[in-house]
Symmetry: C2
Subunit: 288 residues, 2 copies
C-alpha cells in the first residue's frame, strides 16, 4: 500500500488518478483527521499503516498565484520546507522509502546556449541568492532539508498542464491572463509527471533528485501560437513590454522562468514526451 | 497572567526567575502536554487561558553549540522560524500582545568606526546573504515572518552570561574552550535581558524590535583579562591564529561576531548596564 499526503491538491489528484488507473492500493492521509506535520503523529501513522512507499504531494502554492505566498509566509514555510524535513525524519525512523514533490522554480534562466539546469546544478533562485519569491525560497530550503536523505526521491515539477481546463493549468492560465510575460520555460505535463513519480517507485530507479519536465522548452509565444492554431481561443493576446513592466503592473514577487534538463529522468526510463508534442496533445484533446 | 513558552530553556528559566521575583503570575506551557507549535492548539490554549501577554522563549539553539544545527536542520527551522510565525498568527487571531526572543547573531561585524548595528539595519548574516550558519539563517527568517506583526516585541539576545557557571554561560564557555577565537562582540547579561523583556510589557514601551545587549562591546582578550584578574581561572589561554584556522580546526559553520547598538532599548527606559560593568559584576559574584 502507498500512503499519499496532500492527495487533494492539483498534483495529488493526478497522482490519485494514476494510482487508481493502475489498480494500486493507496490511502490518502487527511491532515484534518490526523496532523501529519507533527513528527510523532506521522511516525505513529507510518507504524500503524506500514505503507511500502509514501508520496508527499502536500505543499503550499498560494492562490490565485505565487504572490499570495508573500503574505502567507508561515504557511508557505511550514508546508514547503518544515513539512519536508518532518516527513524525512519520520520516513527514516520507520525506514519507509518515499518521494517528495518539489519544484523546478528554484532555478531562473538557462545555462550557456539555452541548455537546461541538471540535478547537479545548485538552485539559483532561492533565499541563498536573495533574488526569489518567498515561495521559491521555501521550496529550495525544503530541498536543503532533504540533502543526504535515505531512500528518498525528489521530483521537480515545473508549470503543470494537461488537456483539462483548470485555474492551475498553464494553458488555461495563458488564455485567461489579460497580458502575458515573454519567457522561456520547461513545463511538466501533469499526468506524465504523476506517472513518472509512481514509476520511480515501481521500476525501482535509483533514489535521488529528478527534473520531471517534458524534454525541451517553449516560449510564451510558442504556446500562444499553438493555442490559436488549435482554436482554443481567438483572442488577441497582449504582452508586457518587459520584465520590469510586468513586475511593476502585475506581480508582487519575481517569477522563476527557467529551462531544466530532464535527461537523467529519461535515462532512468521515465516517460516524458517532448514538450511540443505534450502541448499539442493536450490542446488537441482540450476539455472545457 | 503571562503565558511563557519555552520556559525550561536557559533564557526561559531566567524569565521564570524574573517573573517569580516580581510576584507576577505566569503559566509555563509544556509542549509535551500540548503542542503549541500547532496553530489550532495554540489558539485554543490562548482562548482558554486568556493571558494578558505571551512570551516566546522557545527556540532551537543546538547542543553543545551552533554546529549541531547544521545536522538538526528541520528542528532548527521549525523551532526558530515556523514556530515564530505560528505564534504570531495565534496572537493576532486572539489579539494577545506578545514578545519573541530573537537573536543578535543575524548580524556579523560592525558598522563604520566600530559602531553597532541598530534596529533599522537589515540582518547581514542570514540565508539572504548566504554567509551564515543554518542557525542564524533560521533566526533571521523567523524575524522575516514577524515583519508587520501587531502588538509584538522582538527582543534580540546576544551571547548570554551571568554569575552562575553553566555550559550556556559565555564566561564558562571562554574558560572551557581549548583555544579561543579573537573577536569583538556585544553581549547580553542574562538576568538584565530577562528583566528587560518583562519591563517591555510592564512599562508599555512601544512594540517593535529591540537589541537587548549591554551597551558597548568587548574583545575576547578583554574577557580573558577580566577572567584572570578575578582569578576565575589561572590557565594560559590559547588563541587561534585566524578565523580561517578556527573554521578549519574547530567549527563546522561560520560564527556571528557582531556589535549591536542598544540605544533604542536604553532610550525606551530599559535597564542594561555597560557591558564591562556587567561582566565585572558577574565575575565578582562568580558561583561555581
Amino acid at each position: 500500500m502507498i500512503l499519499l499526503l496532500g492527495g487533494n491538491g492539483y498534483v495529488g489528484n493526478a497522482i490519485q488518478k494514476n494510482l487508481t488507473g493502475r489498480g494500486l492500493s493507496f490511502i490518502v492521509a487527511s491532515r484534518a483527521s490526523s496532523d501529519y506535520s507533527s513528527l510523532p503523529v506521522l511516525v505513529k501513522m507510518l507504524r500503524e499503516l506500514r505503507p511500502e512507499f509514501l508520496i508527499n504531494a502536500a505543499g503550499y502554492t498560494g492562490k490565485p498565484n505565487v504572490d499570495a505566498c508573500e503574505i502567507h509566509r508561515t504557511e508557505c514555510l511550514a508546508g514547503n520546507a518544515t513539512l519536508a524535513g518532518v516527513i524525512r525524519a519520520a520516513c527514516e525512523q520507520t525506514q519507509t522509502p518515499w518521494g517528495h514533490v518539489s519544484s523546478g522554480c528554484i532555478f531562473t534562466g538557462a545555462k550557456e546556449a539555452g541548455a537546461g539546469f541538471t540535478e547537479e546544478d545548485d538552485p539559483n533562485f532561492s533565499f541563498r541568492q536573495n533574488n526569489c519569491s518567498f515561495y521559491s525560497g521555501t521550496k529550495a530550503l525544503g530541498e536543503e532539508l532533504l540533502q543526504g536523505a535515505e531512500q528518498c526521491f525528489i521530483w521537480r515539477l515545473r508549470i503543470p498542464f494537461n488537456e483539462v481546463d483548470s485555474p492551475r493549468n498553464y494553458i488555461s492560465k495563458m488564455m485567461r491572463y489579460d497580458r502575458l510575460l515573454m519567457a522561456t520555460n520547461s513545463l511538466s505535463q501533469l499526468d506524465e509527471f504523476a506517472a513518472a513519480c509512481v514509476d520511480s517507485w515501481l521500476q525501482r530507479i535509483p533514489f535521488g533528485t529528478y527534473n520531471l519536465t517534458n524534454p525541451g522548452s517553449v516560449t510564451t509565444k510558442d504556446v500562444i501560437r499553438l493555442i490559436l492554431m488549435h482554436r482554443l481561443s481567438e483572442k488577441s493576446f497582449q504582452f508586457f513590454e518587459s520584465d520590469e513592466q510586468f513586475m511593476q503592473l502585475a506581480a508582487k514577487t519575481p517569477r522563476s522562468n527557467c529551462v531544466l534538463d530532464s535527461g537523467k529522468a529519461i535515462a532512468a526510463g521515465l516517460k516524458l514526451a517532448p514538450v511540443e508534442d505534450a502541448l499539442e496533445t493536450a490542446m488537441r484533446n482540450w476539455k472545457r
